[in-house]
Symmetry: C2
Subunit: 197 residues, 2 copies
């Protein structure tokens, strides 16, 4: 998205609407090369503003895509709104699973249910011969989901078409809805919808 | 590393020594599943402690591996110690380059020279037929290095052996020093050594 959000007369931010989604991001407010150099208290203030000062209107779901870690943003969110749950995204690699475990432990501590785990970068299908390469290891997401006693919501392969359409600003489900990644995304979404409604 | 650091009589932390490197990490102080749930001021305090309260001794170089972003950790470091320079690591993908640009802009603003750019996940060599797949795009690192007028220090491919040895706690340069990734790491290190001495 390259659009800049506008504001209502009551000075609330109007989210950008695209593909049936209302979107808000720090990136919409800054130039491409301008870093958001912010200490914790300012991060907290922006996070609260994105929750309270955006004219979200009626929504089916509000999804928050968080940066990695267990810091100010995560803490502010759980202390500002009641969350239906958290989704933990990880690669199958051991060092990534350690961080996934930490994220799950944090949400547990603040009484936010972990709805499930999504394994990203699960494998790469070589266009040469269709063989699957488990670059970041195999079975890590499944093992960790069992350990955390949460569902493994899906396994998303590394996919050139998904990356390319993403870089063009077009989600793969819009560009090629029958592609393996699009199918997996829809499966994950469907699983979540069932859990949450 | 699974060791826990100990302390000197003056209550300074003794870093873990391995492969000729002295290492200190938040992870050494916590259990594998224990998240460091910290707001900004605490992050600042730990960052300062790692710089000032660790018995580093005589070092050739002190490298700080930072999390992504331009927040408390980055700000605290530039305000606590004089840095010789920053190295920006990115994948060739457009959305990653945007963040790399922001990081470079931040270091510029606080007068820390950017020593160069490292492109990670540059390509994947299919074990089927040795063909290179530029999963995250091609030439992104080079274009961005030119735009920022800094050297492109190296291009590191996605490599299963590197991931496997890393997960075992063994750097690829120790396990297979002639492998393509080990060779690239050594080239990057040599480039940096020349710049810094």
């Amino acid at each position: 998205m390259r659009e800049r959000p506008t504001a209502t007369e009551e000075n609330k931010i109007i989210p950008i609407e695209q593909y049936g989604l209302r979107l808000m991001s720090m990136g919409f407010l800054l130039d491409d090369s301008a870093p958001a150099i912010l200490r914790g208290p300012m991060v907290t203030r922006y996070t609260q503003q994105f929750l309270r000062q955006v004219e979200w209107g009626e929504l089916d779901f509000l999804m928050l895509d968080l940066p990695p870690g267990t810091g100010d943003i995560q803490l502010t969110i759980v202390q500002t709104v009641a969350l239906s749950g958290a989704i933990v995204v990880t690669t199958p690699q051991e060092v990534a699973l350690i961080d996934a475990r930490k994220a799950a432990t944090m949400f547990e501590k603040v009484n936010v249910p972990v709805l499930g785990l999504v394994e990203n970068m699960s494998y790469f299908v070589s266009p040469s011969d269709g063989k699957r390469y488990h670059i970041f290891g195999s079975g890590g997401g499944e093992r960790e989901a069992k350990r955390l006693r949460v569902p493994l919501l899906g396994q998303v392969p590394i996919d050139i078409a998904t990356r390319e359409s993403g870089d063009r600003g077009m989600p793969i489900v819009g560009e090629d809805r029958k592609s393996p990644v699009a199918t997996e995304f829809k499966r994950i979404a469907e699983n979540l919808r069932k859990t949450l409604t």
